[in-house]
């Protein structure tokens, strides 16, 4: 299973295995990793699963669609390029080793 590292805003790291086909948000949720709220359960409706993708991974993840881009644009503390909604990133072998960081607040 792909391993994903989630880094909380205070620097606490969690490296966990996440099943293929799940989302990066579901990986955090199922492992009880703090910093991702995911109120809408992955419907791209709440923007409370905002993460910053590590710079080395930005180009390796499928691009965001318009809805995700608009949500992020107006989320708390977005960073163009690095900001993503974790529920919109599907996990697969190509993401083994992915590193994401959580923002200070989900807004």
């Amino acid at each position: 299973m792909p391993r994903i590292t989630y880094i909380e805003h205070d620097g606490t790291e969690h490296t966990v295995e996440v099943g293929n086909g799940l989302s990066v948000m579901e990986g955090a949720r199922d492992n009880d990793i703090p910093g991702i709220e995911a109120d809408c359960g992955g419907a791209c409706a709440c923007a409370t699963c905002h993460v910053y993708v590590d710079p080395s991974w930005i180009g390796k993840i499928p691009a965001k669609d318009d809805a995700e881009a608009d949500m992020l644009d107006f989320a708390a503390a977005p960073t163009s390029g690095a900001s993503r909604l974790a529920c919109q990133i599907r996990v697969g072998d190509h993401l083994d080793g992915l590193i994401v960081r959580m923002p200070e607040t989900q807004g």
């Binding site: 109120d39 419907a43 791209c44």
Partner: protein
Amino acid sequence: MSRVVIIGAGQAGASLAIKLRGLGHEGPITLIGSEEALPYQRPPLSKKYLLGEMEVERLHLRPRSFYEERRIELRPGVAVTSIDRAGKTVTLDDGTSLPYDQLALTTGAEPLRLPARLGGELPGTYTVRTLRDVDAMAPEFVEGRRVLIVGGGYIGLEAAAVAASRGLQVTLVEMAERILQRVAAPETSTYFRELHRGHGVDIREGVGVASLAGEGRVATAALSDGTTLATDFVVVGVGVRPATGLAEAAGLAIENGIRVDAHGRTTDPSIFAAGDCTSFPYRGQRVRLESVPNAIDQAEAAAASMLGSGKDYEARPWFWSDQYDVKLQIAGLNAGYDRTVVRPGARAGALSVWYYRGSELLAVDAMNDPRSYMTGKRWIEGGFSPPPAVVGDPQCDLKTLAAPGSPGAVPATPRGG
């Protein structure tokens, strides 16, 4: 160590249990639910799950191991039949009983049905509340078949969208003058009416179902306008009633739901409640919300209160709905609005409807317009009310609107309530 029993293992019940552990409660937690499944999310039931685009495991709020690791005892498939407040025990439908120190009621809501004497219980007639409901109706969704959807609220409209997307012939009847009448302004109703008509749905407003009939299975519907419609199956989405039976029998106060205070406490100090089954104070009114965000936030606030926090729950209402390729996002509550402003969005098909009472912004419906939703939500929660004329001007950039010195930069005013 206090022993907590939670009745109802849905969104609110699971959130409450998880939060209790998260806040450091070490005593026993038992989560009793009449459904067989692990606690799951309902929104996809009328959306991706019904479309066949989401597997059942992904509906689960957490994997089974999660509860085991946190010593949250799940009792699926078991219903509580009564509460003995004096003896602090609950009785289960398997004949056993369970003691508690603190009790939480997260019993949700029950779908309204058409009465049996009007054919509402004929085979081929479905409600949309549980995984079982949806698994039972899913095989009916076969291309070319005819479905009658009763009720033009979000659930009915979402079911219509799924059916039309899968190539069924869809008729939707709404007894009120327009779809979404109870929850949205005419502009929002119009947007969704046009969307559905564009997908071939036959929407009939101001028309109700007088009765359903069929030999052993529903086959026709007599409508209130005197016409009769032949159909292969019927989906009923005419609203819910809060599941207050247990609470009522136990003598707790009921007021459009189980009455709780800002701490999630019922009229018994050892009994808390959260989610669809409750009514609670919100900005000077008493409201009952049927939404996932409220179920989560209210349950978490109740968990904190159970452990002694004195913090008030301040709801930040929002909701969403998915129909075809349109995502509707709603921030705030529009109850009491006296005017609306419509704002075309930046992308094709994007539109937002802003609800005002006088100069106060109450709510926004954003259709394929996350920018308006995100901005509106922040404004409403922060107590900002930009002038309606400015919001309605598509040339006005939402981002600069709230910036200091801009026409929309009205200082936040403290709210009552």
